[in-house]
Amino acid sequence: MSATSGPLPLGFQGAAPAKPTRPAEPDNYLTHEKGILSWIFTLDHKRIGVMYMVLVLSFFALGGFFAIALRTMLWSPVDFNANPAHAKASYDLYNHFFTLHGAVMVFLFIIPAVPAILGNFILPMMLGAKDVAFPRLNLLSLWIYFTGAVFFSYVLLSGILHAVFGWNIPGGWSLDTGWTFYTPYSSSLSQGAVVPAVLGAFILGFSSILTGLNFIASIHMLRPKGMTWFRMPLFLWAIYSTSIIQVLATPVLAITLLLLAAERVFGVGIFDPKLGGDPVLFQHFFWFYSHPAVYIMILPAMGVISEVMVAFSRKHIFGYNFIAMSSIAIALFSFVVWGHHMFVSGQSPLSAAVFSLLTFAVAIPSAVKVFNWLGTLYQGDIRLTTPMLYAMGFIFLFTIGGLTGLFLGAMSVDIMLTHTYFIVAHFHYVMMGSTLFAFLSGLYYWWPKMFGKMYSETWGKVGLLFVFVGFNLTFFPQFVAGSRGMPRRYASYPVQYQAFHRMSTAGAYTMGTGLIIAGLTFAQSLLRGKKAPNNPWGGSTLEWESTSPPRHDNFEHTPVAGDPYDLHGIEYDPATGGWFRNPNAAPAPATHGH
């Protein structure tokens, strides 16, 4: 934002003595009520979104800590012969670290990130509504999330008590099963606090289900006059598809984890082969949820990208119907491809072949989206702001992640690549390179709306540069190392892989630096950011018609919805540094009409 030459923004915090002439700051959701209880018991979707943000980002930091610890351990291989006892302890620690990293990142960060934070804040506003359909349920889902987080915190605490004081806590300490909880790692072979961890994931699942349910009902019932299904912003289509998956897939994980916990508590075999259970059945159930879950992670991220592309290309979205329907297609396909995680677990050749074909099919709607975003960029009036750069990073990295997914979907190739770093690289390209990038893109994009403050574009971009370079430095070498046979989840390696590991570690530190810069950029914005105009980017969806930050009930007058991406008549006002809808604008040229 270079519009510093405008008049002094109204209500700019931290300015010298208040001028008596300045109009009072209008009431907004942050100032509407005061006191901690007004947050804990709030029914306001915006406050709930903000509380989710604080919690979820804290766990992101925790997961990041484990990531850095892992990469630090991998700087050099462990010399087993020099000190076997020490080496074994180090292997053990590594198992705990990669499990905690994965479990925290998946269950506590990436699944709730976009829906629970941005979705909660933005979805009702995009609908021109005052809140989600069931505000109490929304608050409940937040506190269920909190409860699940408490369980995970117990797991961590037990690990710390064991490591620091040597306590052997009955029921286990920490977690060393892998985020996938495969039996028998999670049953007879684990000394970890498996039951608390599994119950934590179970509880978090219900938080996710309730959020999804709430969004489904909101999208069905709260659309304003004029917003037909095919006039919904694409973010809403994305959230809608995500919610379907949350509602239909999560319960399967829930029951599976319950069975796992029961098996461990009562010692009666269900999934543990030693006790007469079937571990492959566990894998079927696990992936029946967890493959769709990867689309819980990516679909809302794709929704963010559609919004950002329009706002910063100043062009109507290209191929609206295709993008909308591809979200639904991805959601439906996602339920029938889980077997691609089990090509080497023992399934019949026929089912493996069918799963492989269906996996290829899922790539089609994903590619449809990518091409339509490119179509939107084409001949657009592109502004390279921080959110836009993150969004472009998303397209680039998602393409790599998605294409390597196809390698893995091809049975013959996967048999060689499975359980190697190639998998690790693939899913980090789609989870971190794509979902995290989109999340940051969305956070920068809606930040001014959420908190009424602008952030520093310069520092936003500096952070992005570190993240982007660091990300590729971390994970690209892992494709190569993996294809040369470096197995995943190992604490040590032969020296021939050292160069790759060192690149990865250096990349991880670079990326960590970038994320810290991003965090500081947001903090700086909160403390002394310039006051944000109502519509800083020229967005055309309804949330931009409210004040920044929004009033308690979002809109003074319920806005009227039309084509969500009709940018015609949205003009820049140098006086406020923001955009507004000019009712006197010349009629739209025919090509923009519908």
Partner: protein
């Protein structure tokens, strides 16, 4: 008069909704979405049970033979009748007969509680029979003399009504797969019973609300959606009963 209707509507409609009708449709939709979650929740455990039942048909049949099918049958009837009262309650609410509503809700609660009492009795008998997996599972059925008079009364009743039970291998050695069967039995019926407890709590809350005059022909969607939930929980039992108790012949 018109003024009155307006204010009463305003207190009942949350600010994100336009009118009672929209709010009502939203909560019904929400409950259906929740029930689809529930279907997948129970569905997954039915699948797991089915997989093992097909893998160990004989052992699972032995397990079924050990259950008190007649208690399960009585419970099925109890639940179906409770569903009838629930449906009557929803009808009464829709037509604004609040007294009838309360009466029907109370009958539903009574029958729901009766179901839990019978279920609890079964659990107790299974405990005496050494059928609780992991905790008190015995590989040999305990001899009659080791059982309490309460359990023996059921035993003789069972012999009297069911000749099949008589032939059942009293001395058969139980298998680990039978223990697994019991594990599924306890988890499935346990989750179902938990749903019943939640249902009874919701019904009690409805009675309390109804007593305080909160419901009318215009506004009664809590009754309606609790009804949906209650019928769903009944339906789950209608599937649990045959697959657990009745698949007993080779």
């Amino acid at each position: 008069m018109a003024e009155d209707a307006l204010t009463s509507e305003h207190t009942l409609v949350a600010h994100q909704f336009e009118d009672v009708a929209q709010q009502r449709e939203a909560s019904t939709l929400g409950m259906w979405a929740f029930l689809s979650t529930e279907i997948l929740f129970f569905g997954a455990i039915f699948v797991a049970y089915g997989v093992y039942r097909l893998r160990w048909p004989d052992q699972y049949r032995q397990g079924s033979l050990e259950l008190k099918w007649y208690l399960g049958a009585i419970n099925t009837a109890v639940l179906l009748i409770s569903s009838f009262f629930m449906a009557m309650g929803v009808h009464a609410a829709a037509t604004g007969q609040i007294k009838t509503l309360i009466r029907n809700l109370l009958w539903t609660i009574v029958l729901g509680t009766l179901f839990l009492v019978i279920k609890g009795t079964e659990y107790y008998l299974e405990y005496e029979d050494g059928l609780v997996p992991g905790v008190a599972f015995k590989m040999e059925k305990p001899s009659e003399s080791a059982q309490s008079g309460f359990a023996r009364a059921f035993e003789s009743f069972e012999h009297w009504i069911s000749p099949v039970a008589k032939n059942r291998g009293e001395t058969h050695r139980r298998s680990p797969q039978e223990e697994q069967f019991m594990m599924f039995y306890f988890i499935m019926t346990g989750i179902h019973a938990t749903h019943m407890v939640i249902g009874i709590a919701l019904l009690s809350w409805l009675v309390w609300m109804a007593r305080r005059g909160k419901f009318s022909a215009e506004y009664h969607n809590p009754v309606e959606i609790t009804g949906l939930y209650w019928h769903f929980v009944d339906t789950v039992w209608v599937f649990l009963f045959p697959i657990l108790y009745l698949l007993r012949n080779p």
